[in-house]
């Protein structure tokens, strides 16, 4: 027991009760895997969102190493009604990082559970625990000389497949829609029961990682962007490394070119001539990742001007829009499809670049690596644009139609400029949808900018919702407001599920706006 009074307690839990619970939890996992002092909790409270750290301060953190330990911990938490916030690799940067959705929740850090349990090289599947990072999986496949690729998000060196998938993250290979390419989950429910989804429910089944649906309702979806359970294993599909990989970049000179780009690429994407999640990145996403210094073009306050953006394009050979995609196949199939790419680029007035080192810059290199699932951290260059470590992703979903994209871009750009922020955006093309991902970059050490960033995010959310545009994912500070944009019926069903599965409301209440 500690003698210093605690600053942060879970909502509605007395200090005495909390100490008792911590003692019980220490007995389960070992004292060194429970953290409850303010300074030791610092890594769990580093956030990029435009709200005070205190709003997301954890009361403690526990690092279990097995499903059995998690089950035992859930009993203690139920007994004391202590809310718990599970994280896997805990790098949900710009969406809430490793901090709990509500102040006082106890973080359950699953990073120590980092076993790669199975890789089936014939079926191209893997089964991983929450703490496995993409870099670890990459090294594993390299070491075993297995010609298998996975899809990863940009912060892949330090993030992991399970945490990314449960927040329905995206990557850049043909398997870029990560939840779609997951197959089978193991989940510890609030009462400690262990559920395996899909075929995993059946004793002796060997099809858990190959057939996602099982019998009856497919439950996997309810354990993503939710708080109905603690996911302890995830199956995922791996892609056979193609004999020939041809990444490319097509640059376009004008903002308005986005309409013809999307309309020209959509058929190729839907028909899977281009099989991967195409990225259409705006100048100001490329600029920081090419080491352009913002102050050289815009020394003053406020949003950068269109003229300055034009000048950046000219000085650094960047497109207004920069399209990244790749062909994956045999030399023969790629040669045939390459002709189509050349024709489309020529017909739409784009400049085709294939050599990342000679013609493309730094940005091209990390993109070409990401499209083959090679982990890196190149995209962190975004944070050198404004400095100060403030970032919130505003990520509305768009139809893959040219007219929609331009409308969304202009709407966002106008609102961002009103608050003095730049449009740093990209479109990630699914099959028929696009994730329009905008990084609201601001200086978090500047109180004024922090206030503006918060108000700006709020206005973006409301303005887009008025147009019928919803976000695909959101930071924890805005969870409640985002959930409200999706209407009351969905929320009511979510609440009923919560009551049924977690009657004491102990797993991450408030996550994605779900609570009792």
């Amino acid at each position: 027991m500690t003698t210093t009074p605690r600053n942060v307690l879970p909502k509605g839990v007395s200090a005495n009760d909390f100490e008792q619970a911590l003692a019980q939890i220490r007995a389960i996992v070992g004292a060194e895997y429970v953290v409850a002092e303010d300074t030791a909790l610092a890594p769990y409270n580093k956030i990029m969102m435009a709200v005070p750290d205190e709003q997301h301060a954890p009361s403690a953190a526990v690092m279990p190493d097995s499903v059995e330990q998690i089950q035992a911990i859930m009993k203690v938490l139920n007994q004391h009604r202590i809310p718990v916030y599970p994280i896997s690799t805990g790098k949900n940067l710009g969406y809430g990082s490793a901090a709990p959705v509500e102040r006082g929740q106890l973080v359950m850090d699953l990073r120590r559970m980092n076993r790669i349990l199975d890789v089936d090289a014939e079926l191209c599947t893997a089964l991983v625990e929450p703490g496995v990072t993409y870099q670890q999986l990459y090294d594993y496949l390299q070491e075993k000389k297995l010609p298998l690729w996975f899809s990863c998000p940009a912060p892949s060196v330090i993030a992991g497949p399970l945490g990314n998938m449960v927040d329905r993250g995206v990557g850049y290979t043909p398997y870029g829609e990560h939840f779609l390419f997951s197959s089978g989950m193991e989940v510890v429910l609030a009462d400690g029961e262990v559920l395996r989804t899909g075929m995993g429910s059946m004793p002796g089944s060997n099809t858990w990682q190959v057939f996602k649906w099982g019998y009856g309702p497919t439950l996997d979806g309810i354990f993503t962007q939710s708080n109905y359970g603690i996911v302890t294993k995830m199956g995922m599909w791996l892609m056979p490394a193609p004999p020939d990989y041809r990444p490319f970049l097509i640059q376009y000179p004008e903002d308005t070119d986005i309409t013809k780009i999307v309309d020209a690429l959509r058929p190729l994407r839907i028909a899977m001539v281009i099989p991967n999640a195409v990225v259409i990145a705006h100048t100001l996403w490329e600029a920081p990742c090419t080491k352009v210094n913002r102050a050289d073009y815009h020394p003053g306050p406020g949003a950068i001007s269109d003229e300055a953006v034009q000048k950046i394009r000219k000085d650094h050979n960047l497109g207004a829009w920069n399209v990244y995609a790749a062909l994956y196949g045999t030399p023969e199939t790629n040669a045939a499809n390459w002709k189509i790419i050349e024709q489309v680029a020529a017909a739409t007035g784009g400049t085709l670049i294939t050599d990342s080192t000679e013609q493309g810059g730094r940005a091209t290199q990390y993109r070409f690596d990401l499209m083959k699932g090679k982990p890196n951290l190149g995209e962190f260059d975004l944070y050198n644009w404004r400095g100060g470590g403030g970032s919130m992703w505003f990520a509305p979903v768009s139809q893959a139609k040219g007219s929609e994209t331009l409308k969304q871009m202009q709407l966002a750009k106008g609102i961002l400029a009103k608050y003095g922020f730049d449009y740093v955006g990209e479109f990630i093309v699914g099959w028929r949808d696009m994730h329009h991902v905008i990084d609201l970059l601001y200086d978090r050490s500047d109180a004024e900018q922090m206030k503006k960033a918060h108000a700006c995010f709020d206005e973006l959310l409301q303005a887009f919702a008025r147009e019928g545009y919803g976000v695909y994912r959101a930071n924890t500070a805005f969870a409640e407001k985002v959930a409200a944009t999706y209407g009351p019926v969905k929320r009511d069903v979510e609440r009923r599920l919560k009551r049924a599965l977690d009657p004491n409301n102990i797993i991450a209440p408030g996550r994605c706006g779900i609570s009792i």
């Binding site: 610092a42 769990y44 190493d65 690799t89 790098k91 850090d109 980092n114 090289a121 297995l146 190149g378």
Partner: protein
């Protein structure tokens, strides 16, 4: 396990925590393993400031790793345990500037060490 399958089951030789996983990684050419597997991806690539060859105090490095600094994420003991942290901090502190580095020698200087509640 079926014999006609190239199936790799590693559960039995499972790596049970982060620093052991790092220890199992391929040799890092004389570099500290944590540096090679985490830090270098930003600090050797000019994404974050160069940190080698600056004799940054080990305690400062440990503090920044645990608290994060501006856009640099914080790292928990579940990712880099205290032993691995002490080792990487010492190694970074004593290392000469990296030749392979494309990093810029920009700040932060040690004087900019974040307070406990750094943003």
């Amino acid at each position: 396990m079926q014999s006609n399958k190239i199936r790799i089951l590693v559960a039995s030789l499972a790596l049970s925590c982060a620093h052991i996983a790092l220890a199992a990684d391929p040799p890092a050419e004389g570099r500290d393993r944590t540096y090679a597997k985490v830090c270098s991806f930003c600090h050797d690539k000019g994404v974050g400031p160069a940190i080698l060859g600056r004799a940054l105090p080990a305690a400062y490095i440990e503090n920044v790793v645990r608290h994060g600094f501006r856009a640099m994420p914080s790292f928990r003991s579940s990712e880099i345990d205290n032993t691995a942290l002490a080792s990487v901090a010492r190694w970074v502190s004593q290392s000469p500037a990296s030749k392979a580095s494309t990093a810029s020698p920009a700040s932060p200087a040690p004087s900019a060490a974040p307070a406990t509640k750094a943003q």
